[in-house]
């Protein structure tokens, strides 16, 4: 066990090119997915927080429930969509990083939208009277709130990033864990562990945790600085 650890550290230290490729692809896929999901999910959450329409509560409950969507189920759905016989089969996206980005976007979208909805609704209850007094309409209010609590919304985005970078099921199914093409950290860890190559699996695990930790630390510091600056 101790041997596996020191070998793992050695792998990280030697900056193995295979390892580096896996890490870069992981980051590309998960960050792209989170970016896409934020672009859709944050405005969606803001709209849900501010707009009043019939069925709104049902939509909110459904969205909250979707936060717990199992990655393998999302993977399966995207697989069916992109497989050769599926409706989008002609695009030939299955087993490509693009397919992985699509699956992770769908997985993360409800998390970002639901958490953003909650945060923006809390802010809305504070701002509503003032904004309505100024004659601000719903759409305008949603945009104002998105911008005004942008640093708090980092938490929602980070939760999405955590989910995307940690999941195996979706990327495994739609990516296929093909070496050098669609292999990411989580699928590699699963594979190497089952093969018994514990040092590589451990090295990848340590890198994964370090990256997630660094991103969260950066976001925390940014939020703190913003709080001091803007109150």
């Amino acid at each position: 066990m101790r041997g596996a650890f020191s070998e793992a550290l050695g792998l990280i230290g030697s900056f193995d090119p295979g390892l580096a490729g896996i890490i870069v692809l992981s980051l590309e896929v998960s960050l792209s997915a989170v970016l896409l999901a934020s672009a859709i999910g944050l405005p969606l959450g803001a709209a849900l927080a501010v707009a009043r329409f019939p069925g709104r509560r049902a939509v909110i409950v459904a969205l909250n429930a979707l936060m717990g969507l199992p990655p393998v189920v999302v993977g399966l759905a995207v697989y069916l969509l992109l497989s050769r016989a599926g409706p989008l089969g002609e695009l030939g996206l299955l087993f490509t990083p693009v397919a992985m980005v699509i699956a992770q976007t769908l997985l993360v979208l409800p998390i970002i939208a639901a958490l953003a909805r909650q945060a923006i609704e809390d802010a809305w209850s504070e701002y509503e009277e003032q904004l309505r007094s100024l004659g601000v309409g719903e759409f305008d209010a949603a945009l104002t709130l998105l911008w005004d609590i942008r640093f708090s919304l980092l938490t929602a985005v980070l939760a999405g990033l955590g989910r995307a970078s940690a999941e195996v099921g979706a990327v495994m199914i739609v990516g296929g864990n093909i070496d050098g093409v669609t292999r990411v950290m989580t699928t590699a860890i699963a594979l190497e562990t089952s093969k018994g190559d514990l040092p590589l699996a451990l090295a990848l695990g340590m890198v994964l945790i370090a990256i997630v930790l660094a991103l969260n630390a950066a976001a925390f510091l940014l939020k703190e600085a913003a709080q001091r600056r803007y109150g």
Partner: protein
């Protein structure tokens, strides 16, 4: 610019209920331009609610709130409100004012000039670039007044604007309110501070349990209140005036 005044404001049998309980009951009153109106009453009498109904933040459950010139959707509002706790956006003091001006369809080129003027009249010019949320409570309330000032409203509603401020900050706020009054804005203010009511008000609307019980010029209200409820209220708030009131 040929547009009639939105005043007088007519309330016709306005009621507001929530959860089966009536909070405002059958208030009928006409508010004219010129005089400053103070809304007095104990906690829970419905002062804030009445102003929200007037300002259009709430719709009455019965009765009607009629302005002499109706608001057109999309057009700039000609009334403004300052709340007990100011709500500021996370941007500079200046940007908070230009934000309001943008919503009032003021052309971009004029916003900054108007905003700076408004900040100056509230004594906040030196704080224009500071983030609004890190200002003190009194400064934020003055900023809320500056934001309203920039809009040049015909009517300004104030909901206990100095309730959580110290005497110094309160005096500064009152000065800005007086400047509004001098510039011709109709002031409608709810307050707990009877001294403030006297300093700013011309007339008093006295609410008791959601009903309009008395309306009188400010001096007469304090020296010779007519209703038993108003007498009890003044006695409670100004115990030393009891002797004077008893005859």
């Amino acid at each position: 610019m040929n547009r009639g005044s939105i005043l007088p404001l007519r309330l016709e049998g306005v009621c507001f209920g929530a959860g089966g309980r009536a909070i405002i009951e059958g208030v009928s009153v006409e508010l004219e331009a010129g005089s400053s109106t103070i809304i007095l009453g104990a906690n829970g009498a419905g002062k804030s609610l009445l102003m929200r109904l007037c300002h259009g933040l709430l719709a009455p459950t019965a009765g009607a709130v009629r302005w002499s010139a109706a608001e057109r959707p999309g057009a700039a509002r000609r009334q403004a409100m300052v709340f007990q706790r100011p709500v500021m956006l996370r941007r500079s003091a200046l940007a908070n004012v230009t934000y309001a001006l943008a919503r009032a369809n003021v052309p971009r080129a004029e916003r900054e000039r108007l905003a700076l003027e408004a900040l100056e009249s509230a004594g906040l010019l030196s704080l224009a670039k500071r983030p609004a949320r890190v200002l003190s409570g009194g400064e934020q309330q003055r900023l809320a007044l500056a934001r309203a000032w920039a809009l040049h409203p015909e009517v300004l509603f104030l909901d206990e604007p100095t309730a959580s401020l110290d005497p110094g900050a309160t005096r500064e706020i009152e000065n800005v309110i007086k400047a509004f009054d001098a510039a011709g804005t109709k002031i409608v203010m709810a307050t707990h501070n009877l001294g403030q009511a006297r300093r700013i008000g011309d007339e008093v609307l006295f609410l008791h349990q959601g009903r309009l019980v008395e309306r009188a010029p400010v001096e007469r209200f304090f020296s010779q209140p007519e209703s038993a409820e108003a007498k009890a209220f003044i006695r409670g708030e100004l115990p030393w005036a009891v002797g004077r009131l008893s005859h």
